[in-house]
């Protein structure tokens, strides 16, 4: 079943991407067209096949010792942020005046 425009809005909301009303119909067309092209993987016989979630199949237990490594200088760590205050990252109101 193709994605409706309201599906697209919900997907975009979840992905935190603001779409304008004008953008939604075209995005729905684009996404549906791509999803249609994914059909081959639904037609192939996958009975009994294990998924390969990790590209190096036999890789396991890659761990590091519990040792402290140097952290970033704080001013440097904050230097790419759009807004900071008191050595912390600043974000606008999260909930507003509920």
């Amino acid at each position: 079943m193709p994605l409706s425009e309201s599906d697209v809005r919900a997907i975009a909301d979840y992905a935190r991407i603001a779409l304008t009303d004008e953008q939604v119909p075209q995005m729905a067309v684009d996404l549906n067209s791509i999803i249609d092209s994914l059909d081959p993987i639904r037609r192939i016989d996958l009975e009994g096949v294990e998924p390969t979630f990790h590209p190096i199949g036999d890789l396991s237990n890659v761990l590091r010792e519990d040792m402290i490594a140097p952290s970033l200088d704080r001013d440097f760590a904050l230097s790419d942020a759009g807004a900071v205050e008191d050595g912390q990252f600043l974000v606008p109101s999260i909930m507003g005046d509920e």
Binding site: L3, D7, V8, I11, A12, D13, Y14, A15, R16, I17, A18, L19, Q26, M27, V29, D30, L31, S33, I34, I35, S37, L38, D39, P40, I41, R42, I44, L46, V49, E50, P51, T52, F53, H54, P55, I56, G57, L59, V62, R64, L72, F76, A77, S79, D80, A81, G82, A83, F89, V91, P92, S93, I94, G96
Partner: protein, 525 residues
């Protein structure tokens, strides 16, 4: 040797020298690393106005590196493997002292806070980091047209795309601006632009090169690799890049010297051809002809040619367009305007600041991929598409393992066609096919190299073959590629970069804001 010292305007011709020759020249005292940096920046100043491969130049880093090399030479120390070699990095590789923009408005002002392992290893090997290279935004594309900073032009024909997403990396080498460049390859983003620009581009087996510090697109598909004019240059760079990095769990130990068997020849080697794939509709006749010629050349060198079958490879494309967007959606979630990245001004609520920053900061192609991933990972489609895609991956991997039971290397076209013109709309089927040869290799994780095999008989543009090896047996690729390379009198750089060529300026054909063709996602990567 083009090199002269003294009053010549350009004492070192970057376009004419291999990495080994540059190092040898410094050791022999014919020129200094400082001279190399001078020469590189001089050609960039004249030629990159046309090509637009670079997004940022880093002379202070390059000259500091040159000084270290020259001081080591002065002190009589043995110079490292890439001493004085001018290099440049795709702009998705973090390097302190540079911006890492990923070709996106989102990161237009992002200063790197750490350095990628691959970058660090190149610099540790004595290379001179000239700057950062243009790319499709976040590596989504195969033409470098989606860069927020405007497209890169193919040095062979400035009206054509250099391929992508590592278009800047390929164009820089083909244009004689750098000797070795690094790119990243998620679905062909090294091999396809290498093919379009007529140079060597190599995607190592997943795990050979650390991904630490490379802005992720598809974490299980991405791999870093080098571009160079020759197989030897690429082998030298690969030697510097590979090996376990404790900061990347998927990186592996590697004790291979990739230059070791460059002269071993292919006598007795078994070369696999996949007939069903190579003769697929959409593959241009000049590409088929070049491939057949390459196969004949390998036979002539004593290789045995064996037909192999990869029955599930046709599903690779669909699997790729599930796995890639899902991982991209997740990887790109971190761009939320809080710690770094574009921040839409004047928002009173965090949620609107995030949504608007992402809407404005990401280009159209990036948004499409993110939304697709967001959809495919939601609970129903996850079972319907994501898990099956990873099962398809199992089947494709098995196909390759089975095929490599009987051959040492598989040969295929890299791209079904030569570089296309800006704005040239290909029909979707062709677009999809153009990625098939490269994408399947990322799905399986194997190494693949694009090797130029002359100019197409119809277009006169570079045409390449792809050599694929078994996982972690990438030395096979180098052995076959180096042998095959000897069959061609390849001009390693584009005509414009050869002695006597005159630069010309063209108007950019594609600019920011141009609509991307809908529905067909740009392939490559």
């Amino acid at each position: 040797m083009v090199v002269t010292r003294g009053d010549a305007p350009m004492p070192v011709d970057i376009a004419a020298l291999s990495a080994a020759q540059i190092r040898a020249g410094i050791i022999a005292g014919r020129f200094s690393a400082h001279d190399v940096a001078d020469a590189a920046y001089a050609v960039i100043a004249t030629r990159d106005t046309d090509i637009h491969a670079f997004l940022e130049l880093t002379p202070s880093l390059a000259y500091a590196a040159a000084e270290r090399v020259d001081a080591a030479k002065e002190a009589g120390e043995e110079l490292p493997s890439l001493a004085g070699v001018p290099v440049a990095f795709k702009d998705n590789m973090n390097q302190v002292g540079t911006k890492t923009t990923c070709g996106s408005k989102m990161l237009a002002n992002y200063d790197s806070l750490f350095t990628a392992t691959a970058v660090e290893r190149m610099v540790d090997a004595g290379a001179l980091p000239l700057g950062k290279l243009n790319m499709d935004e976040f590596a989504f594309g195969s033409s470098t047209e989606t860069s927020f900073f405007g497209p890169t032009h193919n040095p062979w024909d400035l009206e054509r795309v250099p391929g992508g997403s590592s278009g800047g990396s390929a164009a820089a080498v083909a244009g004689g601006l750098a000797t070795i460049t690094l790119g990243s390859d998620t679905g062909g983003s090294i091999r396809q632009p290498a093919s379009f620009c007529g140079i060597v581009g190599y995607k190592p087996t997943y795990g050979l090169v650390s991904r630490y510090g490379i802005v992720a697109f598809g974490s299980s598909l991405d791999q870093v690799g080098p571009f160079g004019k020759t197989v030897e240059d690429v082998a030298l760079a690969t030697n510097a890049l590979v090996g376990r990095d404790e900061r990347d769990c998927t990186s592996q130990d590697c004790g291979t010297d990739f230059t070791a068997n460059l002269h071993a020849g292919v006598r007795g080697m078994r070369i696999g051809v996949v007939t069903s794939m190579n003769d697929a509709p959409g593959v241009q006749p000049e590409v088929v002809a070049a491939l057949h010629e390459a196969v004949e050349n390998l036979k002539g060198l004593g290789a045995e040619v064996v037909e192999v079958d990869l029955p599930h490879i046709t599903a690779a494309m669909s699997a790729y367009y599930v796995i890639g967007p899902c991982e991209a959606f997740s990887n790109l979630s971190r761009f939320d305007s809080v710690r770094y990245g574009y921040r839409e001004p004047g928002c009173e609520l965090l949620s609107s600041q995030e949504s608007l920053s992402r809407a404005v900061g990401f280009g159209e192609e990036a948004k499409r991929r993110i939304l697709l991933g967001s959809y495919l990972l939601s609970s129903g489609p996850y079972e319907e598409y994501y898990v099956p895609a990873q099962k398809v991956r199992t089947l494709i991997t098995r196909d390759f393992v089975r095929a490599f039971g009987s051959v040492d290397v598989i040969i295929s076209p890299t791209s079904p066609r030569a570089a296309f013109k800006f704005g040239e709309i290909s029909d979707p089927a062709t677009m999809y096919l153009s990625d098939l040869f490269t994408i399947a290799i990322n799905i399986a994780g194997n190494g693949g190299m694009s090797l130029p095999v002359g100019l197409g008989r119809d277009t006169g543009l570079p045409v390449s073959v792809q050599l694929i090896g078994p996982q972690f047996r990438d030395e096979n690729i180098f052995q076959a590629a180096a042998a095959l390379e000897t069959c061609y009198r390849i001009e390693h750089v584009a005509p414009m970069a050869r002695p006597g060529a005159v630069s010309r300026v063209v108007e950019p054909v594609m600019t920011i804001g141009s609509p991307t063709p809908p529905a067909t996602m740009k392939g490559g990567e």
